[in-house]
Symmetry: C2
Subunit: 489 residues, 2 copies
Amino acid sequence: MLPYSKLIPVNKKADTAVYLQISNAFIKNIRRGILKSGLKLPSSRVLATLLHVNRNTINAALDELQAQGWIDIQPRKGIFVAQNLPVVKPTILSADQIQSRYASSTNYNIHPLKVSTPLATMAPPYFKLYIDDGFPDTRLAPLDLLAREIRRQAHLPAMRKYLTYGAPVGTGPLLEALVNVLSETRGLNVQPNNILITNGAQMGIYLVARTLLQEGDQVIVTEPNYFSANLTFQQAGAMLNRVPVDENGMDIDAVEMICKKKKIRLLYAVPHHHHPTTVTLSPERRMRLLELAAKYKFAIIEDDYDYEFHYTSNPILPMASLDNHGNVIYIGTLNKSLAPTIRVGFIVAPSNFIEIAAQMRRMIDFQGNALLENALAELYKNGTIMRHINKVQKIYHERRDHFCELLSTKLAGRVEFHVPNGGMSVWTHFPTRPLEKIAEHAMQMGLRIPNYRTYNTGKVDYNSIRMGFASLSLAEQDKAVDILAACVP
Amino acid sequence: MLPYSKLIPVNKKADTAVYLQISNAFIKNIRRGILKSGLKLPSSRVLATLLHVNRNTINAALDELQAQGWIDIQPRKGIFVAQNLPVVKPTILSADQIQSRYASSTNYNIHPLKVSTPLATMAPPYFKLYIDDGFPDTRLAPLDLLAREIRRQAHLPAMRKYLTYGAPVGTGPLLEALVNVLSETRGLNVQPNNILITNGAQMGIYLVARTLLQEGDQVIVTEPNYFSANLTFQQAGAMLNRVPVDENGMDIDAVEMICKKKKIRLLYAVPHHHHPTTVTLSPERRMRLLELAAKYKFAIIEDDYDYEFHYTSNPILPMASLDNHGNVIYIGTLNKSLAPTIRVGFIVAPSNFIEIAAQMRRMIDFQGNALLENALAELYKNGTIMRHINKVQKIYHERRDHFCELLSTKLAGRVEFHVPNGGMSVWTHFPTRPLEKIAEHAMQMGLRIPNYRTYNTGKVDYNSIRMGFASLSLAEQDKAVDILAACVP
């Protein structure tokens, strides 16, 4: 007899009913060819003994198998694996092999990505002390207030209508809250139909790329640039035209020269705090850029992912607030104000663009999480988010000053940087030692620098990184810079 | 003098500090050309009187404006709008016009979508009694348990590491929970690296389309088919090859004929309860389909969006559990078990496919919401989700029986349908009157049928809809069918 007790494992503590475990295991063995078509199975009494279960349980499993057509129960003859099951090339496997068996690669071809560098798909191992790319301190996030509000929203009778399928642009309450926030904080006077809620700034970039770009379209970016934006444009089939960036931001003369030669479809800008260099685009260049966009009819992505975090003066109003021609697509996010995993951002653009982008978003993931969106709307309305931003703004300001002071004193002459007007990181050049070596050395001393390769992949080896100061307390900064000082000659 | 009190509106109750409201309003007016370069502004004392605010507030605003370079404060001469601001074609607008001004259309060209029918981007107006496409009853969703668990997770010290950027494939706890669930409920024995968490089944379809399809690639779908899948493949540039569907599901002979003529890249199947017709793909056809996929090397999407809801027997194990060649990409979702707005689903596939799909997902929206993912992992672990599914499974079973009974008695001879083995809707044909007329008439009587056009867009006018029974209580079903009976001759 076949080893039924091995083929049909039973776990009485599992959530799945035992009779179902048994019928599912039978099905698997029939499909694998171990229990062949026409095979006579043991009687229910015997099976009950073999599997150490009640005979009623076996009968329930057999009923199930018969209902699904896997077995024939023939009165006075016995139980048989059904005849009309076409079993494909059955191979006999041991129970162990079956447990671990799953195809590890496809038998069809997968196109390689069009991007120049693969993206990391696994989270880095958690490390206590590390220098990130400029992320917020999640310890400060008002997570309890958010979670409490989510629970309150879950109890509201009005929530019911939001729980089913809704609009891909986002829920009404959050759109209305953003209309107010954008007007009060950014001088952007828009209607709800100018806004599309996204899962963060990255989805904003992706939606613009997929809405506007076709194979071979020309895009202008800075060199260096936010690597994730470059990859997204490349994957959408675009050609990248790179312009330099200096202490006043993107070089607009270079932009104009390209516009005269090629039909430009899209320009990607981070005017407030350029990524990665953190410089602010000057007012004169902003004006010229808007003029060029109107003249050459290209779209501008204004990625303003950290608008709220500006320390030297208050934030500079975005280019979008000055654009009368409908060229600027403004992208913002709450990830930096709250926590990266709270995936909510927004696009602001003329309503005809929003309409097409919403159809695209509808195909990507239908819509966002209404429970989260309405909770955030309430936190905007009752001032929680603004209070939180004001609070952390002061903390990050202090952290920026402390970090730059540490770099100036403890690493004097061994690093080159400018104090950033805002944001969460310092763009730092290491002239004396390759970053890879520094990162290796620092790791041995307990400091992780995970992004040391990020800006060393292009033609130029910058040997520079964004050093995130916002997520480190002053004491952690002291420790991190002490380690760095020991690693940089 | 210019009407400063109109140009610079002050709202003392707003969240934004008054001095910032003032400086932002000045900037806006300078940018708009109303306050021209070189214009002398009133003294801070006069401004304080005009705007009814303290003089210190005005001074703070002026400091801000000077810091940002918008004004020059010349000792003993006065305050002037800065000279070096290149103002682009200034136009004088009234304060009212400024408030509502925002470009309503782009000045660049937007490519039309490649899809044959536009998707709805706005949520339908809320209506008390309506027949949906087959959605769950959100009143039954264990929302409080989920919200409570989210709040508990928010307090866990371990949550900190999940709050920052993580892996696009999803959090470890949810991947591990799914490994167990997939094995126990679906006979799928996989490793965590075979799974990618998505924002629902639609993102699963989208990711497969963007990972596998290039312009002109051939895809096989049924006719009729889930419209959203068709649109997603078309938008990715694919050509659709349509095969008929009968009471045993997709016509596999037709699939084979197409494979002999064309290089097929992808086939989309909903074997458990076909969308829209609800029929189950027979075991024989499943086997043949897997054979064809292995032979012709195409990928199969097995969309199993409502696996848990099967009433005639227990759910039939998915094709993916039988696939030894790595052809099946299995898509599941929690939206149907919990609520559509809880956007969590998954893809199961060979690890090389998951790796590329994860890179694609990384570009779309970086990652999911870890707070939600970990809360769901815990609800799987402690049995909450399984208990909920068992509970609603029984309720929906009863609702299916009641609804089909109502159709058979109250609409006898006026509708054609088969009792579905599972799912949440009955595919119903109306032979006597155009659905559009029925929907209009029903609307006047208080019953909304929003999707009457969904399956009437192709070459064939099915005059059929999926009638969702799961979201209606028995009493609501009585009412809805009474209205229908009055509208269908």
